[in-house]
């Protein structure tokens, strides 16, 4: 079917492509272009005034100590979330691909936190961190839990990581399981006949053969945690004293509460660039380790 697009079959194009292409253009392409333009203007929401101001907004982004601090906070949060979630997911998946009884149920169980949206998840953990853990701390005298984790910047940071990783683990586990099922059984058998121990099987066979799954999992966890918004909103609301504002939270505040649309959009573009650079670098580096089975 290599007919040229002509008046006669323009109808086919409109009927089959019309609605989705129109919605896609109106929601993705046009806002993307307008968004880039916006970063070069000083558009004011109240007066409606707007003029081109060059790179001023971007300079503002890099001069804004608060945003840079929060970007650094976000980077640390992403790093620990990605590492913790992936390590746990990897080993749980490994334990759940041996064909034992009840594996289906266990997988189903570990996946359940993913049914819950960020808002509900955030409030669930907020209840635990602000009420249940301090109760344990008081009852058993555990100093770590005496005060709510959410009232101190350092512990609130870990609270955010725990809540996010708790959800991610089940999701990544599913992908790791799919990756492990792709490891040929005869390779594993040959290794065990040759007397390879469990650790060396994991290190020398399973890890190299599941690089594609690892790349995907790190990619997914990177982009999901970089863009966390609702868990942050429900769990800490950026507090105490704005010290736990992740980048997205900061951007929403900047744009919609302080009406600095141009700067907010410039921050969003910077954040996107950071995510893209890190995600691409990691897949490039990991892909180099990939081997053929």
């Amino acid at each position: 079917m290599n007919k040229k697009l002509s008046l006669k079959n323009a109808g086919t194009f409109l009927v089959f492509g019309g609605p989705s292409i129109f919605a896609f253009a109106a929601v993705v392409i046009i806002p993307f272009i307008v968004g880039l333009y916006l970063t070069f203007t000083n558009w004011d929401v109240r007066t409606g005034d707007s003029s081109l101001i060059g790179f001023t907004n971007y300079l503002e982004v890099f001069r804004d100590k608060v945003f840079l601090q929060q970007l650094w906070f976000t980077l640390k949060y992403v790093f620990f979330t990605v590492v913790i979630a992936n390590v746990f997911a990897f080993f749980i998946a490994l334990a759940l691909t041996r064909g034992g009884r009840g594996e289906q149920w266990l997988r189903t169980g570990f996946f359940t936190p993913n049914l819950v949206g960020g808002i509900v998840l955030g409030y669930l953990w907020q209840t635990l961190f602000s009420q249940v853990l301090p109760y344990l701390g008081a009852k058993y005298g555990w100093e770590l839990f005496q005060t709510s984790w959410l009232t101190n910047t350092g512990t609130a940071f870990w609270a955010l990581i725990i809540a996010t990783a708790w959800q991610l683990v089940g999701y990544l586990m599913i992908i790791y399981i799919a990756g492990f099922t792709g490891v040929p059984n005869d390779v594993l058998e040959a290794a065990s006949i040759d007397g390879a121990g469990r650790t060396s099987v994991i290190r020398r066979i399973i890890l190299p053969l599941t690089v594609p799954a690892i790349v995907i999992c790190i990619f997914i966890s990177l982009s999901r945690s970089f863009l966390t918004y609702d868990i942050n909103l429900a769990l800490t609301k950026g507090g105490p004293f704005n010290s736990t504002e992740l980048a997205t939270y900061h951007i929403v505040q900047k744009a919609f509460l302080s009406n600095q649309y141009g700067v907010g959009q410039a921050e969003a573009v910077v954040l996107f660039a950071v995510v893209a650079i890190i995600a691409l670098t990691q897949s490039y580096l990991l892909k180099k380790l990939e081997v053929e089975s």
Binding site: F16, G35, V45, Q131, Y135, L227, A234, I251, F272
Partner: protein, 275 residues
């Protein structure tokens, strides 16, 4: 050796169930305490409830306007998932079977856009649609979900339709069937496995989404369930017992779907991620 073989897997499974139990404790604690009074919860959050009463559920149901949020979420999720699936299937078919230049340009743009995070689009989007006075209606939100959902939908259908032999459709065309009719009576029924994948991923995404509706649906009667949960929590903040009941009620609808579709859901996630 033999005894080892029998005991070890049992131990391993036992350990895994224990781990799962610990993993799911947050849920268990919330469920347990949603049946107590707030006073009882403060005094002993770890004890089992002595009575099962649904007072907290009734109070949460009224105070968070559960029915309204639920209906809004149901309508928005139901309609947007349906239109995303139908329109992306049609567009995927168009892109596979007609090699026009426009088609490859749009297909490329859609693929590229999947790397774009929502955060880059939200500010200009709210600005543009706000200027046109289009915020605060379900129609706008549905349209936006269609626009955001189409790239992944088209991509997924594209990959699947490529594998369907063209001969099936050719014979229909020879007998004089129109493209539209051929698509709906021959191609669409073959796409069922992809439907399930997309259905699962899009339902989980749209049902639980907070950021987009929070920017678009500003008036109280337009709130989706995550928005009602947010309002309820931020205005009720000390009375924990009804709050926990509210959380459980928000989770239940998805949990029911999950219990029926768990195999497909897990398959959907795997396929969605590996594509």
């Amino acid at each position: 050796m033999n005894a080892n073989r029998r005991i070890l897997p049992g131990l391993r499974t036992g350990f895994l169930y224990l781990l799962l139990f610990a993993f799911l404790t947050p849920f268990l604690l919330i469920i347990m305490n949603s049946f107590k009074t707030t006073q009882q919860f403060f005094e002993s959050p770890l004890s089992l409830p002595t009575t099962i009463n649904f007072k907290n559920y009734a109070s949460a149901f009224d105070n968070m306007d559960f029915m309204q949020g639920f209906m809004n979420s149901l309508i928005i999720t139901g309609i947007s998932v349906t239109i995303i699936i139908i329109f992306s299937a049609m567009t995927g078919y168009l892109f596979v079977r007609y090699k026009w230049k426009v088609n490859s340009i749009f297909f490329f743009l859609m693929l590229a856009s999947m790397a774009l995070p929502f955060q880059v689009l939200m500010i200009p989007m709210v600005m543009l649609y706000g200027n046109m006075g289009l915020l605060n209606t379900k129609l706008t939100l549905l349209f936006m979900y269609l626009g955001f959902g189409v790239p992944f939908g088209v991509f997924t259908f594209h990959g699947f339709i490529k594998g369907i032999p063209y001969e099936l459709e050719e014979s229909a065309f020879i007998e004089g069937s129109t493209t539209l009719r051929t698509f709906f009576s021959i191609v669409l029924p073959l796409l069922k496995p992809v439907f399930v994948t997309l259905l699962v991923l899009d339902v989980l995404w749209i049902w639980n989404d907070y950021l987009l509706p929070s920017l678009v649906m500003l008036s109280p009667d337009q709130k989706t369930l995550p928005l009602s949960t947010y309002t309820f929590f931020s205005s009720y903040s000390v009375d924990y017992a009804p709050l926990m009941a509210g959380l459980i009620m928000t989770i239940i609808p998805v949990l029911i779907i999950y219990l029926f579709l768990q195999k497909q859901i897990i398959k959907g996630i795997t396929e969605g991620a590996l594509k």
